[in-house]
Symmetry: D2
Subunit: 386 residues, 4 copies
């Protein structure tokens, strides 16, 4: 398989990020199968038509049911709003298409499991879009842990801090509507932390959490682009039905202790997706706002020169570096999607499941819901219980 014909559903923020990845992959990863940008689908003919032209898709369509049934599509890329994921994925799987679904897999754990089952029943490949795994600095963290260079892991602490809805005048966009988004900071941001925790440290065993909605009523939206938006002119408001912030503590199966916080009310943090891991032989720190860097500490360093090293993960020794620029020439957010989709394309070529896949989506969702149950019932909840 040297070319993969893609049909994509969704054309906003994630649609743009994925489109760019498809566009750039042949240039930077010439050994990967070539993604063919066959058709892009959206509800607004005008909107999706404009996106198709701008992003470079051969065709724009408005009926995803038709799209997923087409013979000239190998892979269905689902980045429509979260509440639409399941139906599309099930239909695409039934049609024998490989699946690439943005996170969260679905709004509920039950739905996520249905999606995984459908994909497995259809025998197709399935990937979920946890793109942060694919930052070279995160790959380096993973490598250090996998090689035992941090020893036994004791601590994982992670925060995903944003501040884009702090203004009470910011309108009630779909991400603040539980019916469409499932949850707020928890599912949007916390899901990434959970996935990184699982990627780097392993499975969680039990959790206890709390959450809050600081601004409970907001103006209805009049327009929205990306993460920015404007409120209604007529002063109409509606209730925020998701969490502004969710925190939880966790124990990992390995015995490590975890701390997680996702919030959209941390002023000064545009996109602080940050974690620190402490092991018996060393530690690593990552902050997505400086995504090319990993701070690394080794307990075994000479006694007079112990300290966190600021490693710029752009050297030949680092993941993906050879595809890009000389050392010290950094890459950005969009590159995580390129690396992610390269993994997907290679998995198709090699006839294996990509990683992370729907299993990871289901396991992440299980933790998300365990935290929600923990909050609702004010108690520790075991992941096994889910």
């Amino acid at each position: 398989m040297n070319a993969v014909r893609v049909g994509m559903v969704g054309y906003k923020f994630m649609g743009k990020a994925h489109s760019h990845a498809y566009r750039d992959i042949p240039m930077f990863f010439p050994d990967a199968p070539v993604p063919v940008m066959q058709a892009i689908c959206g509800r607004s003919a005008e909107g999706v038509g404009r996106a198709a032209a701008q992003f470079g898709w051969a065709e724009a369509v408005t009926d995803w049911r038709e799209l997923v049934a087409r013979d000239d599509i190998d892979l269905v890329d689902i980045n429509a709003p979260s509440d639409a994921h399941k139906e599309i994925a099930l239909a695409a799987a039934r049609a024998g298409k490989h699946l690439f679904c943005e996170k969260p897999l679905a709004l509920t754990l039950a739905d996520s499991r249905d999606m995984l089952e459908a994909a497995e029943a259809a025998g197709v490949k399935h990937m979920i879009g946890f793109n942060y795994r694919f930052a070279p600095a995160v790959q380096l963290a993973r490598k250090l842990i996998a090689e035992g260079r941090l020893g036994r892991i004791h601590h994982f602490r992670a925060v995903f801090l944003q501040d884009w809805i702090m203004d009470p005048a910011f309108p009630l966009v779909w991400r603040l509507d539980k019916k469409v988004a499932g949850s707020g900071a928890h599912g949007d941001l916390g899901a990434h932390l959970i996935d990184l925790a699982r990627f780097l440290v392993g499975e969680l065993k039990e959790v206890v959490g709390m959450s809050e909605t600081f601004v409970k009523e907001r103006p209805l939206p009049s327009s929205m682009t990306g993460l920015s938006a404007h409120g209604s002119a007529d002063g109409a408001t509606g209730p925020v039905t998701v969490d502004d912030a969710t925190l939880f503590l966790a124990r990992f199966e390995s015995g490590a202790l975890g701390s997680f916080e996702a919030t959209r009310f941390a002023g000064g943090h545009r996109c602080t997706n940050a974690f620190e891991i402490n092991g018996s032989l060393g530690s690593v720190k990552f902050d997505f706002e400086r995504m090319n860097e990993l701070q690394v500490y080794f307990t075994g360093d000479d006694a007079d020169v112990q300290g966190f090293r600021r490693v710029l993960a752009t050297d030949p020794a680092h993941a993906y570096a050879e595809a890009w620029w000389p050392p010290g020439h950094t890459i950005g957010y969009e590159h995580t999607f390129i690396h992610e989709i390269v993994e997907l394309l290679k998995s198709l070529q090699e006839n294996r499941q990509p990683v992370p896949n729907f299993h990871d989506g289901v396991l992440c969702q299980a933790v998300l819901e365990a935290v929600e149950r923990s909050i609702a019932e004010k108690r520790w909840v075991s992941i096994d219980e889910m």
Copy 2:
């Protein structure tokens, strides 16, 4: 009151820090009452004699009961191991002495309350040694919050990370013995975080926590100085009876959300006592390893120059700066004790209770024990319950 005659019990790490403060105050804070270093007390005549000579105390004694009863002592400074605090404080209060007690006030909430009652019954002044409040950068954080410049506080997240006992060969020093220390990282480090939380954001309402002892058995100690130590030569070991790490989530009375973590297993962190506070109008970040700095963010800054400011709290506008050096010339750990004791001396001069005092010690202890109960019973615990 222009001079305060001090009798001090304890001469190790905190004894050294306090002694230095008494020694330096007349030079840098000439308007404060002069502390007279009357007598220092310890169990080892040789050890305390050497300390007296080195630190500049007029006299060395070995019987604290005699010391607290002396007529020529106005203030009793208690920095003996934690399990001795209560008995000394009660005797000193009965003798009508003002009290300065290192944290934790006592090993249990009940004992702490006894100490507060005794101090109140005796009508003496009582202070507790939460020295981190007195870093100028922390004072600046407090000022910004008190003046409303951060708005309504949404988040407080704090960690106190150390790594001095990560080596399993590190011996079983008294701080790892529950009978003497009460608890491990929780009481030693977490107590400081709780006090800072109360100082900066207000009272906590409910908590849920978890803890772990990663290294459960250690060599018996052969010698110890400060925080360093050596293990026994004969290979004898004993059980660690305190926590290596304790984390908890909290809700504040105000509705703010709190996250707390204290650990001695965070490689690369010698003394990271760090917090971040997010309010509706701004944020602050502090890390004790860079104790002269406060990171400050305002949501109201011009749209193109928003970002955390690194404020070096050594300007004339900052607390205590006039006592020290020109802007940019930093101070260190020991200065927090100087500022703390200046507050104590001035409170005596002004005939008012110093802050923080035994009330703060009791309230901190209540949170510590609520967390412990929460861990033991695996549930949320209300502070009121304590």
Copy 3:
């Protein structure tokens, strides 16, 4: 002009960066004229053929003289080794093509002037590739200065620190050969600093410099890719004929003082292209290794919260931000070329000279040579003298 047909000479490091920009511009800057990747030219038919396929050029050719004469080419992009720039540019200008030339314009000031004259005589547009101007954080620095928000500029200090040739076993690549490269760190790295100085602070008046070649003899190269390379197997060596490091002091026409240093021997610095500017009302700091950030200080901030702000130049208020991702989602090195070429394309559309253009290339070269003369003659050299 809605489309610009490009013929490019060169296909290595800069060729890749330019190609990617042409490829991505239609997606992210749909309002700019569309660059049509008509033909790419290189000496090795095999090499350029592979590059054409990988980068997305319609055609690969080996004779640049034919290329620049073709009717279906509007713009000639010159990123061949520096010693070839002049001849290609002159021919292309004579053929009436617009010119986009990588820095340095030429190996000598005289050649640079010839190129500018040729472009002017031909009445074509001409741009030079000082890509660092186009980092959003650098654009913000420029904006703050232009709006007077830093006041009168007193100081500009800049370093461009790399470490890729520190190993004496690193071979004698073309960048270390004066005949091909013109100079070493000075022309390669220092040229960028000079351009940033001119862009941000204005023209230089006089300079005095020094330089050094730390490793004077190196193995002959056996192969080279990007900035990496391998030495010869047979142990043959040759002399390094360029500078490893060049430093100089400068006075600006405005009276500001400048300090410049370019070196390839600064261990730990992969690509530290950094400057700081101090004005009477504020300061800015930039480091390319954290290219999304600008540190900004204002003397007029409130007395208790003065400090450098870390501004992440990804907000809507920042240059180019709307083309990319939400705030906090960073971009990378390659994006500077995209912005640069957008400026070029728009200048063609608007029938004006792009900035920076060959005038800037000549003025930069004048400073480079003034520094070289200053070093040769061990004296201050006025730019006017050149």
Copy 4:
């Protein structure tokens, strides 16, 4: 010699720093000879009397000639304004007193040499106050270089950036008067950089510099304390006769390249005394505003974890650490003076010259004057020429 009786001339900024050191040494360095604070001298009887009481001197006097002749004085500490250093030092040397002189040794190289000769003729010990050498992080840099762990040194670049006189309304204090201060930023700040360069990298060979006075006329001062001051009420002004900023390039005897900048017009920098050193095996970076930290890089680190380490120089492996607090508990500016004077006291005890001594003062002055000559004559000046 177990006690050293000190007579000190000067009681302002440096007088306070030295006094504090004498006061604290017996507590933290009990093995050093005890400094006896015999008498402090100043022109204003009231001022010096207040200082004596506050700082803890046994006696306050106003005639330094009497002081240096007294039998009960072993060591004369000279921190009066710079123009008074020579006369006092000569008289004290003639009286057989050991000498401790603040930098700069004198206003001219000739005077400095006279002072060194006088001290040598008298056979006394002589120390100069280059306190920054004594920061533990600077000591670590020295150790790494001395042990060859940075290899051959290629680059030394240093800045001393302050901003306390940026406001044109700041008055004409003595530090801005050439007759009293000798020079401005150059002698005050640059002298420290030169000393650090010599301490860490070795002797300089030749220099070329430039300087500027940005604000040429200032209000006459009405009062002054430390580095702060207020302007005259009547609007009288006077000319600034020293440099606001001086930069220079240097070649070291070893072949290393040096860059130096001292300025009082770098907004946002309260006291950035910073240097970086690049050697063939590694690099170090220091910034006094974070004086407990040294950034350390080794070229030999594993390929995937290369990066500057942030070393907090508070570990047992670091200089002076055992005298202070546990790892991670930082020290401040004043501690550099304590370490400096411990070196002085120990040298007296061991009957050897302390380091740095008047030789270092002379050599530093030679560089300062070479730079001044270079500026006056606009040419490179060899240090030998001086």
